[in-house]
Symmetry: C3
Subunit: 313 residues, 3 copies
């Protein structure tokens, strides 16, 4: 059953899509497809992993835990609210403690951008690290599962027209995806409220109103409006947002036949897209979540190998 890729990538940590070159992204997609086809990993030594989620999460958290259990890792529980961080301990000192008690690998989500700089490159820490999302920075596992889902549909990226639409400012998904999509050869467009399209995005792609995009897009990547990050939430009119920027049924009807609709979840129904579209033929939300487990297995394996864990050879 098990098939090890000739060039299985090995990493000490994965914190940003910029850590990965195009070949490595393709190798990880290949390995995730192996797992999806039933490949199994046989660990000969126990590996201990802790998932440190300092932001709320259902999909990413349970997806990583599922991936860990499918690989046979032992999960050591960690609840931030019940930890010594509430007594003022730093993330670095917390990681140092977990390392000392024998945790081999951390999966961390944290509200602060680049929090991982506190953990990497310190000689006192020997833990492997996977970034499960840092503030509005990066979200590499989401990005990789998105690339896997696109590859399943289109076979590749060259010339593919991808639109990233919505709450760009707060989106680590947008940041991780635009970076790798450009390198993979896709053509990028952005949409949503114009005010959320800044200089940062201009170097990756053009802004267009959604009505000018729908007919010529292969991949519509909708971003969640992150209500909890908008200071001025009271003023936000979800109905107006839906009408001006959302994927209504009418707009969806103008998509090319082969186009797919993606969303990292959780979806605000009738805000980013019409609720009826969630279960539609072109939606890939469920596929994204399914692929997420297999991609995270591939990422975890590459970090196990990079840290010589689990007795893998």
């Amino acid at each position: 059953m098990m098939k090890v890729l000739a060039n299985m990538p090995e990493f000490q940590s994965i914190v940003s899509m910029q850590d990965l070159d195009v070949a490595e992204v393709e190798q990880l997609i290949g390995r995730a497809e192996d797992f999806k086809a039933g490949a199994q990993l046989k660990l000969t030594e126990p590996v201990y992993v802790s998932n440190l989620f300092f932001e709320n999460s259902t999909r990413t958290h349970t997806s990583f835990e599922m991936a860990e259990r499918k690989l046979g890792l032992t999960v050591i529980n960690f609840n931030p609210q019940a930890s010594s961080m509430s007594k003022g301990e730093t993330l670095h000192d917390t990681a140092l403690s977990l390392d000392a008690v024998g945790v081999n690998l951390l999966v961390v989500r944290h509200p602060q951008n680049d929090y991982y700089n506190e953990l990497l490159g310190h000689s006192d820490l020997s833990l492997g690290l996977i970034n499960a999302g840092d503030g509005s920075g990066e979200h590499p596992s989401q990005s990789l599962l998105d690339m896997m889902t696109i590859t399943e549909q289109f076979g590749g990226f060259t010339g593919l027209r991808v639109a990233i639409i919505g709450d760009l400012t707060h989106s680590r998904v947008a940041r991780s995806n635009m970076e790798i999509l450009q390198r993979l050869g896709a053509e990028l467009f952005f949409s949503g409220p114009r005010a959320w399209y800044s200089e940062e995005f201009a170097q990756y792609g053009t802004y267009l109103p959604i009505d000018d995009l729908v007919e010529k897009t292969d991949v519509m990547m909708l971003l969640r409006v992150q209500h909890e990050r908008h200071p001025d939430e009271q003023a936000f009119d979800t109905q107006a947002y839906f009408e001006r920027y959302g994927l209504t049924k009418e707009r969806a009807s103008r998509l090319p036949e082969q186009a797919i609709i993606m969303h990292p979840g959780p979806i605000n129904r009738n805000v980013e897209l019409a609720s009826e579209l969630v279960e539609g033929k072109q939606s890939r939300f469920v596929t994204q979540m399914q692929n997420g487990v297999y991609m995270r297995m591939a990422m975890l394996e590459s970090v196990l190998r990079g840290n010589h864990l689990g007795g893998l050879v």
Copy 2:
């Protein structure tokens, strides 16, 4: 060791006692007794279960987790406070995500009556579901462990005199139990504050003051006063409640010799009953909790079979 009943019931979900006919209740009790006697289940494929408890619980939550582990299921952690439901995601979309990442079975407790209608009968969900309590609706696992405990004492239900006493209005235990007890052939009585005895209960049994009941009751089912659900809590006089409606030592002394005292827990000592009675000879509180694990194993097995999980044949 393992003995599979000829007529082991199979269910896609168990959410209400009304899902079960009398024969199925008896089969589940039989299977729970098998587990109590040491029967083991051998799963040949991994099964992933998540326990979603949106209300506080010690007994039911740990009892389900213990049953799951004894059956060899893999528990995927889920903490409602740390989930995306705090970002506004619905229970249905949360279940959809858990389903997509590969969770096979949900055990859910939720403050809203009939919350499960949001989850059942949707073609997009393929998860098995066990209701671990919905608002003031139903509590089928408690009801089944209660029936098991009564069966152990009396062998059957025909003509058995059962009194359900206390906080009827808020009690899902009362609702689940009166429904099935009537079908099983028991004679029902209610007691406690008269104001808590409404039309709904009249069709199942007669109201009587506790002093008129104690001498002719086989089973005293005491219900917890759910302080947290009484809006006017300040006014509640626990001493007065105990004296008028509680099982005092004096009242307990008038119970028939074979009678048993039950309570779903947690017990308010010296409110529903005298503290000294908790460890008394006629109390079945510990037996109820012990039986709960075996009954939940039986329920879980029936839902595994109903969803073709675990490679059971």
Copy 3:
């Protein structure tokens, strides 16, 4: 690989260092060193353990969980905030429930001194118990891992000069350690704010200013300033504390060469000691945390044996 000590101690519970005589402490250290050298325990029956942490913890909580998993115990999750204790259930009744559902062993941290008296010596409870810290009472697992760490450095305790420095009033670590260190034959000194040195400590050792101690101390045990327990926190001047009572680099430079610096964690850097010293040659913080897992394995094993759990012979 496995080597069982001839005189492996057996306990029903471990709640205080006063439960242990000197020989038992030495046996536990010996057994912990076995585990550190790779000894493994082979359970032939499943053992279920719950960790009940009513105070925040990273080190102790994850260390116990790691020890449990390395021994092959099955951890049943328990979250105090989501338990029935938030409905007013007592710790005793909670333990009774966990016992009834089949939990064999509790590891408990609780803010109330001597909370364990509520659990011990009750005929209705058959659970084993390990105290993971009670208020300002005791912290036996920390104490034992400290004794193990000192033994590794010095081989024994007779005549060893140990200074316990800092927040004595609130420190269960100080209480557990001074008691056992005296019995083991060490010479004790205390330092830190004089107001925190009370009668209670005088019977164990002398108070000295830190500058009079550094040159003649073998073991410096620094205690965390427990900011969260000081009512008058605003007035606390961390800079002044560090200068008067802390281990500055200058003071550390005057320590004897063989001396070691210990701290139970979490460390307040630049309060109890200079941040640069944390990773210094004489620091044993990481060793303490590493040893903690092995010592807790030894403690758990002795309680498994004392309760005839796991099929150990």
